[in-house]
């Protein structure tokens, strides 16, 4: 039943969108096509791209996490607070990192339990924890912020060194995260189970997957990726506060949806997530390049997202045979004749 129609295949659709954008830039502003600009785009999406990979696992199993921004802020504040308080040695950084990871895991477990075991609306729960974490982070810093100043320490080197002299580390971390999550989804049993739980939780239970504790695991990975994003962002800016990475969770969810993921779970892959993040970065960059007022970037992304969601729904419904070709829809024969 392979449909030969050129645009039915998801990758054809994505290639089409990219082609349109590149043509606009050809006319608009040639300097878009420089290597430097590519690096700028990648740098601008490196942080929330990394977090996209964590959130993908959570969304695939039907979860939502609105607290990623605040988790990133809180965990990075905890790490830097400990780091500065204990002599800014690499050892202090490791302990700080462990503290941050423990906090991220705790947040992930809270979200997981509220969603999987207590059946609470994860949308409101994560909204509440994001306020909670913002408050805790700014309470820890008494409302102001904290500097990363030791430029020799490993903490600083995370974001400020270049791999093979050219590629900044945040981009490397983003691509590495994408690769790891991609491998997990493609090659490991855990990946197969993510798709199984996302597709049908009851069936997954009957195949031996404890889908509830599995979903808690996915929330923990999601929060850990937020922690990683927060640490790299802090290292990049040498500064962090309660308002770090504010609003990232919106960009992440929208990038995933543009990449073909579905809020209800079961659909989406790592290539889509990377494409979604890349597209967001390209649009952002284009808007600056074409001298459009940067406040429009959100509106343009809004339009693209609505189109992407419409595409996704169309693809998923078509492959599920809900949108039958005109002819057959007239007399839909019942599947099961009792």
């Amino acid at each position: 039943m392979k449909n030969r129609n050129l645009f039915a295949n998801v990758w054809a659709q994505r290639a089409l969108i990219l082609a349109v954008l590149l043509i606009i830039m050809l006319i608009g502003n040639r300097s878009f096509f420089s290597l430097g600009n590519l690096r700028t785009i990648l740098m601008s999406i490196a942080i929330y791209g990394t977090m996209c990979c964590g959130m993908l696992l959570c969304m695939l199993t039907g979860g939502i996490d609105l607290a990623m921004g605040s988790t990133a802020a809180f965990t990075s504040v905890v790490c830097l607070w400990y780091y500065n308080g204990h002599g800014m040695t690499d050892g202090a950084f490791v302990v700080g990192l462990i503290l941050a990871i423990v906090c991220a895991v705790a947040v992930g477990i809270l979200h997981g339990i509220c969603d999987a075991y207590l059946m609470l609306p994860s949308f409101v729960v994560t909204l509440a924890t994001s306020k909670l974490l913002y408050g805790l982070a700014s309470a820890l810093l008494k409302g102001s912020f904290i500097h990363l100043t030791n430029t020799e320490g490993f903490f600083y080197k995370i974001a400020n060194t270049k791999l093979f002299g050219a590629i900044p580390m945040p981009i490397v971390i983003f691509l590495a995260a994408a690769l790891i999550v991609g491998l997990i989804l493609a090659l490991t049993v855990f990946g197969r189970r993510v798709y199984a739980v996302g597709a049908n939780r009851a069936a997954a239970e009957l195949v031996g997957i404890k889908s509830r504790s599995f979903r808690v695991g996915c929330y923990v990975i999601c929060s850990l990726s937020a922690c990683l994003g927060g640490i790299v962002l802090t290292s990049m800016n040498y500064i962090t506060s309660a308002t770090t990475a504010q609003g990232y969770e919106m960009m992440i969810m929208l990038a995933l949806v543009v990449g073909g993921a579905d809020i209800m779970g079961g659909y989406g892959d790592i290539a889509g997530a990377v494409f979604g993040a890349l597209l967001a970065g390209i649009v952002e960059n284009m808007i600056v390049m074409l001298n459009i007022n940067t406040n429009y970037s959100k509106a343009v992304q809004g339009v693209i997202i609505v189109l992407a969601v419409a595409f996704n729904v169309y693809n998923n419904r078509k492959s599920a045979g809900l949108i039958a070709p005109r002819r057959k829809r007239a007399e839909a024969a019942p599947k099961k004749e009792a």
Binding site: I64, L66, L118, M119, L120, P121, F123, V124, V125, L127, A128, T129, S130, K131, L132, L133, Y134, G135, L136, A137, S138, A139, K142, G143, A242, M250, M253, L254, V257, D262, I263, M264, N293, N295, Y296, K298, A299, V300, Q301, G302, V303, I305, V306, V309, A310, V313, R317
Partner: protein
Amino acid sequence: MRISQKVTRKLITLALIVILSAIFAATAPSFLKLRNVQEILRVAAYTGIICVGVSFVLIGGGIDLSSGGIICFTGIIACRLAMLGLPWPVILLAAVVVGAACGFFNGWLITHFYLNDFITTLATGFVFSGFGLLVIAKEPNGTVMSQTITNRGFLVLGKHVGGFYYIVIAWILLTLVAWFIQTRTRYGLHTCATGSNAKSSEMSGVNVKRMKISTFTICGACCAIGAVFTVAYQQTAYLSLGSGMGFDAVAACVVGGVMLGGGKGDAVGAFLGAVFMTLVTNGMRKYGLDTSWQYVFEGAVILIAIMSDAGFAVFSARRLRALSEKNANEEALLEARAKGGGAQ
């Protein structure tokens, strides 16, 4: 007649409000001042009016995160019209029409293309604030011009009479009208039915699609009303108007008992939710406490509200099971009698 679950849920929120105010009044001297009560009501009214609109969407089984964008767009339109010296009824009407149109667009998009409410309204929220930027007054070189409204006919909306700001009066009126619509009219019944069980409502002849679109349209209109009053009070409109309001309104509704999933709660619940959330924020400031604790407390309150509501549901489910257990022991009696009869 036993008080129904709806009323009990509202009583709890009301009780919390009374307890909380009592504690604040006892421990913070400036809490009970007239000006502070006015202030609490004014801030609660702004969130409350949006909550009235959002409560329609939630009861109808949907969710609307675009209220921030609609507020920004209609607020800026109101500001531009006010600069032209128009009287406030004209401006209010124009804003409500635009707001309703935005809401209709949301509803049409969701029902026509079977899109997911959450993501679509999130995206259209950005689009509407983009429209806001489109219509805002700009300097010749394109940067945004900030304007102060001096049009008396419009600024009266921001004033207060006899201690109550006009926005508060509008809020109370809107809540009563909404409550009446939701509980007393056929439209309200059908909205609740659509939210609670869309399939069987459709089978009973309720036009589910029209219901959904109308709830979003009402929500858009309410956002516009809220925006106009706020712009009148602040005598200007700026790009970040209404930012974050989408989530705060939904959170306040949830605290007030209008739960996600549809069919539960009503406008009065949303009213109490808005009052409660504002009370918490306002009260916490009285102690010169580091305001970060206020965010911690706000987060904790939302968590407690949803957990207590889920607990509420679990408890009533357990009560239901107890009921059926009671029937079970009757069963033994009936079993014996039935065996006696037997089949030929």
